[in-house]
Structure formats: structure tokens, C-alpha cells
Amino acid sequence: MRKKKICMVGDFSVGKTSITQKFVNNVFSEKYLTTIGVKIDTATVGEDKLIVWDVAGRDSLSPINASYLVGASGVILVADGSRSSTVGGLLEIWQTVTNRIGSVPVVVALNKADLDGWQIDDHSRALLDQQGWDVFATSAKDGKNVEAVFKKLVEIMNCKES
């Protein structure tokens, strides 16, 4: 079985841990508990064993610790669709990623698609489109597109390797 390290990155409280836990353990909690440092989990997608680094979110005081990214083969950029600032912030976070580990395979999860206020404004949508990223509207709560995000990333990573 091939092993791959991937990182979940994004602003704080966008649902990185929720998506990871939904994918790895099929659980979801409404309670918000901020991640400190990094939590490491493993999951299997086809022939690949993923080592998922759920990295603490960026906040106004602390940037993402790029040391956690070293050795990653791919990245899932996570934003909260009901907070447009977190969508706009993905470009800066991607800059941090590429500065440290180069342009690795990436997919975008616009999370909390189950919320009423979930709406991607035209400006944010244009920003994402310009990057040419694969973008998924996800919901860790009801599981929408959670598996699809990981599968897509694995597909891109395998494609790059071959």
C-alpha cells in the first residue's frame, strides 16, 4: 500500500477537523474546539494510505506553521462558505504552502454548505476559478462531498506521480 502525507489547511473554524473526522471516523460534532498544533490521522483511499495532518488554522495572531507541511504530497485548502473572508484568505495560505513545499496537488473544500447563509460571492468565485482549482462545496455535517474531496486529491496526486 502506498503511503501519502496530505495536509488540511485553512483559516480557523472553517471545519478542517470536522471534515477530517467525518472522513476518517464518520463522526461530526457541532461543538467548536480549536486545534492546537497538529493532529495526525490515517485513512485509506483505494490502494493509498493517507496520513492526514490536520493543521491548526490560521488566525489573526498566528500564521500557519509551515514546518507541518514538509513532506506532504498534497493539500486540501478548506474555507467556510458562509464567511467570505476565509475564501479570500485561501490565496495567502496557498502562497505559504508553495513557498515551503512547492506547487503540490491541491483541491478546495468550501465547507458548511448545509448552512442557510452559505453563499460564495462572485468575487470569491472568480478568485477560485482563476486558480484552476477543483472546488467542492462540502458539508462535514451531512457528509456532502467529503469523500469526493479526498478521492479527487488522491487522483491528482497519483496522476502527477505517474
Partner: protein, 522 residues
């Protein structure tokens, strides 16, 4: 040897005291040495000779030269650790320390900070929503104020519009009543004067009726309830009716009203005549109202199954700015001093659209205004026209039943129909109508809806059940479309709104006679 063991024990105690653990790997990432206390962090399966990437998840992806600090990594035991990768010439030492205290403190602070930031974000969002809601409220308030202003102006306009014909009706009926109380003067001029007064009453009543119709139609416009009911119509007669109705208004203002028709007298088209009449009265009525000098003309021609109509006046004209607003409901030019409801043009435009046309308005200030439209009006073939025209001869032979509980209306209908040579048998409710229809065969039934004992609907249902196909025409004061649809579903022949125009009844009877003839011919 003893010294080495002692040193080893001291080192182990020191590591435990400092909560430090370590793994040493060679250049191929093979484990060469581990501290005994690694299991306290949940790393139980690390054996000498194993590949560190296989047994320690956080080591995957690194090589022996990697120098890195990984603060606060959650270990398999749940304890948060800090990891330092320290490469040397031949070995990579992975130093693991307990960071749980630091992590707990950080957790408390970070959780609070993040929650506060989320709160601020939510507050900002709410404030934005509040501002938007406030703006919407303000705009809604302005709209309501404007609506209130329009309503006030509308009510005042309606009140004025109603008072004018009502004043005329009350005044002229008083005059007629007074003259009846002093029946000494029976000269021809007196009779002529009474006839003039009654004509004025009739004119005002018709005007009132058209006002009421416009008001009701406006309510229906929003709910798309206005429906067209095309029927065979003699266009020339229709235009003559309209001219007769408006002539007194134009004469009173000393302006010329001309109707120019390029249509053959015997031309019959299929069109909703009452809606077309309503549009023409609205357009010509507006033209006459706003023209104080000169003339108002209507030009109509029929070609290729399309009826083109143009109404032109020599009134004050409409400014470009006002031209944009004239189609809005309740809108009225501020400085004309002419009363009105501001609904006529709105309704006319909508009806013309329903008929498949488009109302065009052009105007030049101080010169006048032109409105025009073209609508489909399929012509009947000569043979069919002849049938429609000839059918008007045979009504005297028809037997007609009237079911109406209002004695005044019933008496009026009996008299007016008698004047046209038609004899009516009158009953007061649906049950009596059914009884009468059992003993006598009627060619035609006129029936009210709201009657005691048995309503019009119940009577229609009973007739339908008995397979009685006598044509029944409903006369109802209700303008609700659902009433018409219910009556039609129960098989009524036609549906007239009160006050019923006797000419409309005669026309329907002509159709009934025509249908009967056609059946006989077949």
C-alpha cells in the same frame, strides 16, 4: 561496566524527569536506538531495525537530513508532544518532549481568541444585515408613503368622478319628479325636456358603470383574472355605440368628435366586443377630457383580419417625462386640474396586450396626442355574416323564462324586452323555474344566481342532471371570475354582469336562434 550501567540509569532517570524521549535513525531511516520511555507517548511498536516511517506516522515524508521543529503534535497516547529532528553526520535524532501543559494553556487562550473573533465577525455580519434591512425598510417606507399618497389622490379622484355623474343623476331625476307632480304642462317641449333629462341620467349612469368596471378590472389585473370572451361582432355598430356614448361629452365641451371608419357596414368579426368597447371609451374619454379646444378623432380600418385604431386629439399634449409615467396605475398629471382615477390607460394597455396588440402613445406638447394599436379581428365569411345578421329577425317567436327574485329588476326586464318584441315569463327562484320548465318548453332562460329556495347554481346543476339543454344565461352582480367559471362548468350558455344591457341579451338570443337554425339545417 558498573559505571556504564550507572550512567545509563542516571540518563534514563534524567529523561523521565524531563519527560524527554528519543529515537535515533540512520541514513536509511532505520531505527538504531530508542529511549525506554517512548511507550509513555503511545509509541509501543518501535523496534530496533524497523523503518521509522512505517512505525511513527509523523516521521513519514522526512529524510535523515531533515532538521525541523514540530511543536505540539498530538501523540497516539493523546499527550501533546513537541518534536525536534536533529540530524548529525550519520544519525538523525528525533527528540520528543511533553508539551501538554503548553498546549493546554494555548488551547484555553486560542479557543477564547477564536471565539471572540467569530463573535466579532458575526456582529459585523449582523450589523451589515441590519443596515441592509434598515435601508430596505426605509425604501419600503418611501414606497408606502408614495402608495398612501397615490391612494389619497386616487380616493379623491374616485370621489370626484363619482360625484359628478351622481350630481347629474340626482339633479335630473329631481327635475323629472317635480314635473310629474305638476302635470299641467303637457306640451311637446316639456316632453322633449323630460326626454333630455332622462338621457342625461342614462349617460351619467353608463359613465358610473364604466368607472366601476375600471375599478374592478384594476383589481383583476394583478391576479391575471381578466379573460377575453370573443364573439361575433358588427364593428360598425360597435363604433356607432361608442360615438353615441361620447358625443354628449364632446358636445358639452364644444369640441368636434369624428369617427372615420374604413369598414363595411356588414362586416362581422370575432372579437371581445365589450373589452374593445371599454378600451375605446377609455381612450376617447381621455382624449375628450383633456382636450379643451379643437377636435378628437378616431380612425379605424380592417385589413387582413387585423383591426387598426388610432385616436388623435388636439389637446395640450404630454411631456416626454410624463410619457414615461402615464401607463402607471393611479398616475395622473399634477397640473391638469382634471379629475380621474388614473386607471383607464393602465387597464386599456393590459386589455390590448391580452388581445394581442400593443398600445403606442406619441405626443407633442401644445399640439396633441395620438394613441394607436392593432389587434387581430378575424372576419367571418359573407355567408356566415348573413346568418348572424338575418338571425335578428326571429326573436318574437322565442319563449323566454326569467328567474329573478328582485322585483324591480324583473319588472324592468319584462318591460324592456317587451319593447323589443320579446315576451318573458317571470318566476322568483330556481325551484319555480324548474317547475315552469317541466310544464312548458322554453327556448331561452335568463337566470339570477342569488335567489331564495334554489340558487342559480343549484338550478343549473339540476338541469344538467336532467339532461335539459335549454340555453341558460346567468345574470349576476358578482364580478368574481370564479363565479363565471362555476356557472360555465354547470353548463350555462353565457354569463352577464349586472346591470345587464338588454341589447346584450338580444344579441345572445340571436346567437341561440342562429345555433337552433344551424341544428335544424344539419
Amino acid at each position: 561496566m558498573l559505571e556504564a550501567n550507572l550512567q545509563q540509569r542516571i540518563n534514563a532517570q534524567l529523561l523521565d524527569k524531563l519527560q524527554l524521549a528519543y529515537i535515533c535513525v540512520d541514513s536509511s531511516m532505520t531505527v538504531v536506538e530508542v529511549s525506554d520511555n517512548l511507550s509513555s507517548y503511545g509509541y509501543n511498536d518501535i523496534v530496533i531495525g524497523a523503518n521509522v516511517e512505517e512505525c511513527v506516522d509523523f516521521m513519514f515524508g522526512f529524510d535523515a537530513q531533515t532538521q525541523l521543529d514540530l511543536p505540539m503534535v498530538q501523540s497516539p497516547s493523546g499527550i501533546t508532544i513537541s518534536v525536534s529532528l536533529l540530524p548529525s553526520d550519520r544519525l538523525l535524532t528525533v527528540l520528543i518532549s511533553n508539551a501538554s501543559n503548553q498546549a493546554d494553556q494555548r488551547q484555553l487562550l486560542q479557543q477564547k481568541a477564536n471565539e471572540n473573533e467569530l463573535l466579532v465577525e458575526r456582529q459585523e455580519k449582523l450589523l451589515t444585515q441590519l443596515e441592509q434591512a434598515s435601508e430596505q425598510l426605509e425604501s419600503k417606507n418611501e414606497q408606502l408613503e408614495e402608495a398612501s399618497r397615490l391612494q389619497t389622490s386616487f380616493l379623491s379622484g374616485v370621489s370626484h368622478e363619482f360625484r359628478t355623474p351622481l350630481t347629474s343623476i340626482i339633479g335630473y331625476t329631481n327635475l323629472v319628479e317635480q314635473s310629474l307632480q305638476c302635470p299641467t304642462d303637457k306640451t311637446g317641449s316639456d316632453i322633449q325636456q323630460k326626454a333630455d333629462h332622462l338621457r342625461a341620467v342614462q349617460r351619467s349612469s353608463r359613465h358610473l358603470l364604466s368607472l366601476v368596471e375600471n375599478l374592478l378590472d384594476h383589481g383583476k389585473l394583478d391576479s391575471d383574472e381578466i379573460m377575453l370572451r370573443p364573439k361575433t361582432t358588427n364593428l360598425v355598430e360597435l363604433f356607432q355605440d361608442v360615438e353615441l356614448l361620447l358625443k354628449p361629452l364632446s358636445d358639452a365641451k364644444h369640441i368636434e368628435l369624428t369617427i372615420n371608419l374604413d369598414i363595411d357596414d356588414s362586416t362581422i368579426v370575432v372579437i371581445d366586443d365589450s373589452r374593445l368597447r371599454q378600451c375605446l371609451i377609455n381612450l376617447l374619454g381621455n382624449a375628450v377630457k383633456f382636450t379643451d379646444h379643437g377636435s378628437v378623432s378616431l380612425t379605424a380600418d380592417l385589413s387582413g383580419d387585423f383591426l387598426s385604431i388610432k385616436v388623435a386629439d388636439t389637446g395640450p399634449g404630454i411631456s416626454d417625462e410624463d410619457l414615461q409615467k402615464i401607463r402607471l396605475p393611479f398616475w395622473q398629471a399634477a397640473d391638469t386640474g382634471k379629475a380621474g382615477t388614473g386607471l383607464g390607460l393602465t387597464i386599456t394597455e393590459r386589455i390590448i396586450e391580452l388581445m394581442g396588440g400593443e398600445l403606442e402613445v406619441s405626443s407633442v406638447l401644445s399640439e396633441g396626442t395620438q394613441v394607436s394599436f392593432q389587434i387581430p379581428a378575424p372576419m367571418l365569411m359573407d355567408q356566415e355574416c348573413a346568418k348572424v345578421l338575418n338571425s335578428k329577425q326571429s326573436l318574437a317567436d322565442m319563449t323566454v323564462l326569467l328567474a329573478e327574485d328582485d322585483h324591480d329588476i324583473a319588472a324592468l326586464m319584462v318591460v324592456m324586452m317587451a319593447e323589443r318584441g320579446v315576451h318573458l315569463t317571470h318566476v322568483e327562484n330556481g325551484a319555480l323555474a324548474l317547475e315552469a320548465m317541466q310544464s312548458t318548453t322554453f327556448d331561452f332562460v335568463l337566470m339570477d344566481i342569488h335567489m331564495p329556495v334554489m340558487t342559480g347554481y343549484e338550478t343549473l346543476a339540476a338541469l344538467q342532471q336532467a339532461n335539459n339543454s335549454t340555453p341558460v344565461v346567468i345574470m349576476s352582480a358578482s364580478t368574481v371570475e370564479a363565479g363565471r367559471m362555476k356557472a360555465e362548468s354547470l353548463g350555462c350558455y353565457d354569463y352577464l354582469i349586472k346591470p345587464v344591457d338588454v341589447d346584450d341579451v338580444i344579441e345572445i338570443m340571436n346567437h341561440v336562434a342562429l345555433d337552433k337554425d344551424a341544428d335544424h339545417t344539419c
